[in-house]
């Protein structure tokens, strides 16, 4: 039986509304115990970060009460929170790259000599002693600009420990780390817990949360679903609580033979204005009813491949054909008769955030679809546009206030539904998807996958560029690997493995050949 003294922070009935009407945190009550690692999980937009910003004094709450160490508190800014022993490490790291580690750590609370000068020796010594105390494996004299992201994150934690913080809020700390760096962070966090610190760990990666934490609170759409002991739950249960229904973690792909070649790239090369070869002799075919995945470390030609296909850049040589029609020199509008395109950046390329949802939904259709045209294309038929939008809304189950609301009022998942819906309602035989699930939550990702598989069963040819290997293995039929602008492998999914593709991405060749 835990005593009340163990309840370090009690948040009661917290409400936070972002003006005008986004209810980010809806009547959440939660208790953090002293000396635990408490994970907050939930999809994007579930309210985890906002709840913690309320605690940290970054965002004022609209209602509710916070009790800390038995007293009601309301921090007006992070400075007050830190003074009381609560610190937060944000997703994005904010350090001065030109300063050394110890200079960054002491910034704001510098030890000074009697004359008022910065006492460098003392400062360095204090920082070193903190590094030793928590076994952080950091060089205090290294310049922050020259150390790894993982090390920078340590500096952020160290900054808070230097200010004698006992409650540490970590906002998705693993999202910036490589898989190898994560265990080290977890060991450090465990050591901190064992030395009496309380850690609140925000994440949406279920494996990590189960591995690291003592207790887990699940949030969904601004509400708390439940708090559970980590030892008494599993990944499936957590996922169900997060999205409110069962999530399919296995592919539902059915085997079928692809049809004729729809999309064909012949000997495509691109040399940029600075003379660098970005694409080199690319040959690629996508058949009807086939999903071809493009894997590769970012910056190995994916960007240029997509841009040459859609027509933003002109290739130096080679040809692009859809249904045997050469579109290498065609205008973007001409290409769009054959190509549905979902760009990777919704706000910059896929939509106009300030325009209405309706206006975003009819893009491209406004020129290609005859029903939108009045007086031979002079006028836009807005009543047809509304009908079209209603149809899109129903078919892709878009949740929105009104067709006329600005596009930015939609959640990320719904924005992507509108964009995918728009592109899928074009009758194009070829679909170009550039990171279609980037930044989406678990439920939305699954929905997008279902849609992509549906395109496949409709007999469309799909080219899917993705940074998530799991995604490619889940839905693609073949995977090609781009390495320094070249296709270094073209493998059916059944005959390869995540490890092999990963190796190809990094090395540009297969390990098997080396054996």
């Amino acid at each position: 039986m835990k005593t009340a003294i163990d309840d370090l922070i009690i948040m009661r009935n917290i409400v936070k509304v972002y003006p005008p009407s986004v209810v980010a945190v809806d009547d959440v009550s939660i208790t953090f115990r002293s000396g635990e690692i408490h994970a907050l999980v939930g999809e994007n937009g579930a309210g985890k970060t906002t709840l913690m910003k309320v605690l940290y004094g970054l965002v004022p709450k609209n209602a509710g009460e916070i009790v800390y160490r038995g007293k009601t508190v309301q921090f007006r800014n992070p400075g007050e929170a830190i003074a009381q022993g609560i610190g937060m490490v944000h997703q994005e790291i904010v350090l001065i790259p030109e300063y050394t580690v110890w200079q960054n750590v002491i910034l704001g609370v510098e030890p000074v000599s009697i004359l008022g000068h910065l006492d460098k020796e003392k400062a360095r010594r204090l920082v070193q002693s903190k590094i030793d105390e928590f076994q952080f494996n950091l060089n205090p004299d290294a310049f922050v600009g020259e150390i790894s992201v993982a090390a920078k994150q340590k500096v952020e934690i160290l900054k808070l420990l230097y200010r004698n913080v006992s409650v540490l809020i970590m906002d998705e700390p693993t999202s910036v780390l490589t898989p190898q760096e994560i265990p080290q962070l977890f060991n450090e966090l465990r050591r901190l817990r064992d030395s009496g610190h309380t850690i609140i760990f925000i994440s949406h990666r279920l494996e990590e949360v189960l591995e690291l934490s003592d207790r887990i609170t699940v949030m969904r759409r601004g509400k708390k679903v439940d708090t559970v002991e980590a030892a008494a739950t599993n990944k499936e249960d957590l996922a169900r609580m997060m999205v409110g229904r069962n999530v399919i973690f296995t592919s539902q792909r059915t085997k079928h033979e692809p049809g004729k070649v729809v999309f064909r790239i012949n000997d495509l090369s691109y040399i940029d204005s600075e003379g660098r070869q970005r694409l080199k002799n690319i040959n690629l075919e996508v058949r009807a009813g086939e999903i071809v995945g493009v894997a590769g470390v970012e910056g190995n030609g994916q960007f240029e491949l997509v841009n040459t296909i859609i027509g933003l850049i002109e290739p130096s040589q080679g040809s692009i054909k859809v249904n045997e029609q050469d579109i290498t020199q065609a205008s973007i509008l001409e290409r769009r008769k054959f190509i549905s395109y979902v760009p990777q950046d919704r706000g910059k390329m896929g939509a106009s955030l300030n325009a209405s949802i309706l206006e975003n939904a009819i893009m491209t259709h406004h020129r290609l679809n005859k029903r939108f045209s009045l007086l031979n294309g002079l006028l836009l038929n807005y009543s047809q546009a509304k009908t079209f939008m209603n149809d899109l809304e129903a078919r892709f189950s878009v949740v929105m206030a009104s067709q006329f609301s600005p596009f930015k009022s939609l959640s990320g998942g719904n924005q992507q539904k509108v964009i995918l819906g728009r592109e899928l309602m074009l009758p194009s035989p070829f679909v170009l998807l550039d990171q279609p699930t980037r930044g989406l939550d678990v439920g939305s990702i699954e929905y997008v996958h279902q849609l992509v598989l549906k395109m496949r069963s409709e007999g469309r040819a799909v080219l899917l560029i993705s940074a998530e290997l799991e995604e490619l293995f889940l839905i693609a039929d073949r995977i090609i690997v781009l390495y320094r602008g070249e296709i270094v492998a073209d493998l059916p999914v059944e005959n390869t493995s995540v490890e092999e593709i990963g190796y190809l991405m990094l090395e540009g060749k297969t390990w098997k050949k080396n054996e």
């Binding site: 005008p20 009547d27 973007i332 509008l333 910059k348 896929g350 106009s352 893009m363 294309g377 836009l380």
Partner: protein, 352 residues
Amino acid sequence: MSKKFISGIIGIIIALLIGALVMILQGYNPIETYQALFQVSLFGLSPLATTLKNSVPLVLTGLSASVAFASGVINLGQPGQLVMGALLATLGGLYLHLPSILMVPILILLAIAGGILWASVAAILKHVFNMSEFISTLMLNMIADYFTAWAIAYPFMDHTAFSPMTPQIDKAGWLPDIGGFNLSILITLLAMAFIWIVFNRWTAGYEWRISGQNSLFARLGGCNIEKNFMAVMLVTGALAGLAGGLVVMAGPHRFLKGLGANYAWDGIMIAIVANNGLLGTLLYGIFFSAIQTGALGMELITNVPSEISQVLQAVLVLVIVAGREFLSTVMDRLEARRKVLAARRKPKEREA
């Protein structure tokens, strides 16, 4: 829409109160001053007709700027396009002698052609040299300014006059008053209706609006950005040119030195105050015209100098532009508070 309207009205009231404060500090009676100001500009048919006639160049250049800015085209060449339109209309009026029914439309088309001509120079510079229209339209203003000044001082000067101006145009080209209201008002309203339909109902207008908000998105969606840029440049040039022609045809019936003076800059300011909204541009254009028109009458009735109207205009711009964001923030907060109350009520209901 209603939100915009309310914030506009509140902005105007606050600006008038600040103006009143300035008058009190100067020792004038603000109530008497405002009374005089609006008596000669709004109250009564004749004052209203004058205000509306004076609003013509403000509204048209304002619409030109609004359409350009909302489409992502930084056409700041309205001053130059206006005087070129005025010059071409004047020349037509000097050398053509036709019946009114032909003369008026021809002069109007000439004015439009003048504006298009001048805007097309910037459009071509962009097309061929990829020169930013921001700078080229500004520079072309100066060229147009000096070119027209030369034209009315040398080849087309009225030698009976003491300062540079052309002779009066053929009477057939004068815009008549209909029931006290000048025909230029009707033409402006027609231009406004036309541009509204183009902007909000034409396929091209849709592309202009989306390009103005996110050009890359529009381009990837299949919009021809370059063609749209050209079209917007020429259409907004036409509006500014029309303004110049109507000023000549409705007013002095000749090209006087300094004819274009501040109309177009005021128009650009009005577009900014109206946040590039077309209806807003029309309403603010009329309101600014009321203040400018009333200022002259006010100076006659009271001993307040007409310069106070410029103070008033400046305050209006600042209050409305600054207040727009502030008011919408306040309204958003009120909405948020309602949500909080709703969220709070729920647990109590659950307990009950």
